[in-house]
Symmetry: C2
Subunit: 426 residues, 2 copies
């Protein structure tokens, strides 16, 4: 793992050039979407056979399949899922905001009405990336928001089945509409509907390049969440931190993906050297060491800053997805951190604590976008409507100004709409 | 204006197929962005000369130009601007949300930190569409959110000047960084920066197809607001409403754009006929009657529903940008309206009241996207960071579950990061 010295406003960046797909892939996705719009269920079944190698005549998961999934999970794992659900619900319930209104002295009422989306679709990848935590982190905010209809789509294995962990997580949350379909065909079916699947208003959840491209294409027809890049962690530490723990946390991101990025920013060269040594040693013992090694070599870095203040500046420049603060007084730095998706304070807040369990969402802005984006949350499944109820008194006092403003913008019919209320005959 | 009868779950839609630009236009935009990235200020100046026909050596607006703009505006219009600013600020201040945190019994602290964006750029179109209200509606939410640096870009006329209304609106809001530049070159300069213009984190504001395409291209590098479609109004009215006022309001949308859509939904055939007659008569007297006529003929419609309940269902299906409720008891229907960008209650809440003056934002979701999108607001210029501070007690009680969850997902390094804290030697 390389070590770099930085000082002052050194240029540091987490930005990796992430593939946005080839023209060929985009064409494939457009063709799949067209086919699903045209032939509905039959198109979805044909693509499932072609891409997933599975014969799926009825994509809707049955009660029997849910029962079997429960049988395949350890009781302890089911209990763990339940604890995680409890924590994640508790946190997201705090995100709920209320409709509000206020009256002006002239009797005018102004307000903002919060309404949940009618429906949401959650995409869950298949294979080894079929994470129950993806189900929890996407479904729970929608559930708390009050979304009436929540749908899950996930590609089946060759045996025509879905991951039991995914099914149990969905069942524990009360989601009954689960479809065995994946890829661009699933996104198209969710956005445009088929004979048996009603369309949804928003699609969230991670996926491969075809899923990401399909989400981009259907955006506007439905809403989508962000297109997530590979995962990242930045650790901000001083000489009081434990190098073994830091190395373990850096490697937990690195094992996700060769494009993942793990960064340490510290004011202690001794710590930097110790962490580098620990990373080398621990890496060797990891089952996914080839992935983790490529990530650390290509996208990992230890920055040694002259002062802790410089280190904080560097963190704000990086705007990492995950930030761990492992200093003597982590809370004291919280006010200085402007840009990070999730902030983990102190040694007991190891990043995996937040991945599944603590409560906050694990769908976070990546690749420096924490400068302007937020974690997935309840507000992503609700929307606001403005309310204006002008009183007669307010109208009469301001009609002249409003009409004048319209004419200043050259919009005569706007002015006349106001003046149509002012006639004496009323 | 056509009249259609509907009943029950009749299919009604505001969706118009809106141009997303040609391949040729997209290539032009990509070339402009590349050129600005490469040659910075020189490229911007060259494009300004080519597209706007103006020689602009220093694009930054001077104090002298602001002073001249004030001299060109009527004192009354300046007062109107000030009143509008007061109202819009008051409303948006109600949208502010606070950071929060809570403690669990085991000592764990969880929270959410709200941080304004560092910087935002507002695009204001030129020519006859250089609306001071665009400045107010985009800048005020950013200002209230606490954005540190707000920049305006607007294309100059052939004389190298900007609209005095735009300049005065900007000056009244304290925006000092105003650039005479437009089109894709302005979006590129704001997203990537030049020698003299620092990049911003988010770009909002309306624009032509080149501006819209450029915003799409730079999305990810910076955040953008929605790509707005043409304007819409839906009026929900019963027999108590005034046909002359409804017609005037429908026409106020229609004058914006031949693609604008004006719709009345009513349970009264008598009202429907009367509104049709009024629209025909008032249309003839409008300065922008050619635009308004095309809008009304191609995208206007009066729907007559069997019951008021059916009319409400139709409104929720339409999900209009603007909704006026002109019934005997408009407030009584508010709870039944699920999808609308802004809701105007009663005859004194004519839609233009909200366009400039009342307080809520006029940047609203169009083309049916009110089903999942919200008006522009303070939250668009802030972002959330999750905070996790796990206590030792909580960690020790849950470390086993967290590690088990990681292993259930096949991520061994995640489990080991947790277990690295559990060693006895600590």
């Amino acid at each position: 793992m390389k070590i770099k010295s930085i000082s002052g406003n050194a240029a540091v960046s987490l930005k990796r050039s992430i593939s946005s797909g080839t023209e060929e892939q985009r064409k494939t996705v457009l063709a799949i979407i067209d086919e699903v719009k045209k032939s509905g269920d039959a198109a979805v079944a044909a693509f499932t056979k072609r891409f997933d190698g599975a014969e799926v005549s009825a994509p809707h998961i049955s009660e029997q399949e849910i029962k079997e999934a429960y049988g395949m999970l350890k009781q302890d794992d089911i209990e763990t899922l339940k604890s995680a659900i409890h924590n994640i619900k508790e946190y997201h319930e705090r995100q709920l905001s209320s409709s509000w209104f206020y009256y002006r002295k002239d009797g005018t009422m102004l307000g903002q009405k919060i309404t949940p989306l009618d429906s949401a679709g959650v995409y869950v990848p298949g294979g080894t990336a079929a994470y129950p935590s993806s189900v929890l982190m996407n479904v729970i905010p929608a559930l708390v928001a009050g979304v009436g209809r929540i749908v899950i789509a996930s590609p089946p294995g060759k045996d025509g089945r879905l991951s039991p962990g995914v099914l149990v997580a969905a069942a524990e949350l009360g989601v009954e509409e689960i479809y065995k379909m994946g890829g661009a065909q699933a996104i198209a079916a969710l956005a445009y509907g088929t004979e048996t699947i009603a369309p949804v208003d928003k699609i969230t959840g991670p996926g491969n390049i075809y899923v990401a491209l399909a989400k981009r294409e259907v955006f506007g027809q439905v809403d989508i969440d962000m297109i997530a890049g590979p995962s990242e962690i930045a650790v901000l530490a001083d000489q009081t931190a434990n190098p073994r723990e830091i190395a373990a946390d850096l490697l937990s991101q690195a094992e996700h993906d060769a494009m993942a990025s793990s960064v340490l920013v510290t004011d202690s060269r001794i710590l930097a050297e110790a962490v580098r040594k620990e990373v080398d040693q621990q890496l060797e013992r990891l089952p996914r060491k080839e992935i983790a090694r490529r990530s650390i070599e290509n996208h990992g870095c230890i920055y040694v800053a002259e002062t802790l203040a410089d280190a904080v500046s560097a963190i704000n420049e990086l705007a990492p997805e995950h930030l761990e603060i492992l200093t003597e007084q982590p809370e004291a730095l919280l006010g200085k951190i402007k840009h990070a998706g999730a902030i983990f304070l102190g040694r007991y807040s190891s990043e995996p604590v937040g991945d599944y369990f603590a409560g906050p969402n694990h769908v976070l802005p990546t690749n420096g976008t924490a400068k302007f984006s937020s974690p997935l949350g309840v507000s992503d499944f609700q929307k606001r409507s403005s309310i204006i109820s002008y009183s007669r008194e307010a109208f009469e006092a301001n009609a002249g100004k409003i009409a004048a403003f319209a004419r200043m913008e050259g919009l005569e019919a706007h002015a006349r709409a106001i003046e149509s209320r002012n006639r004496e005959e009323d």
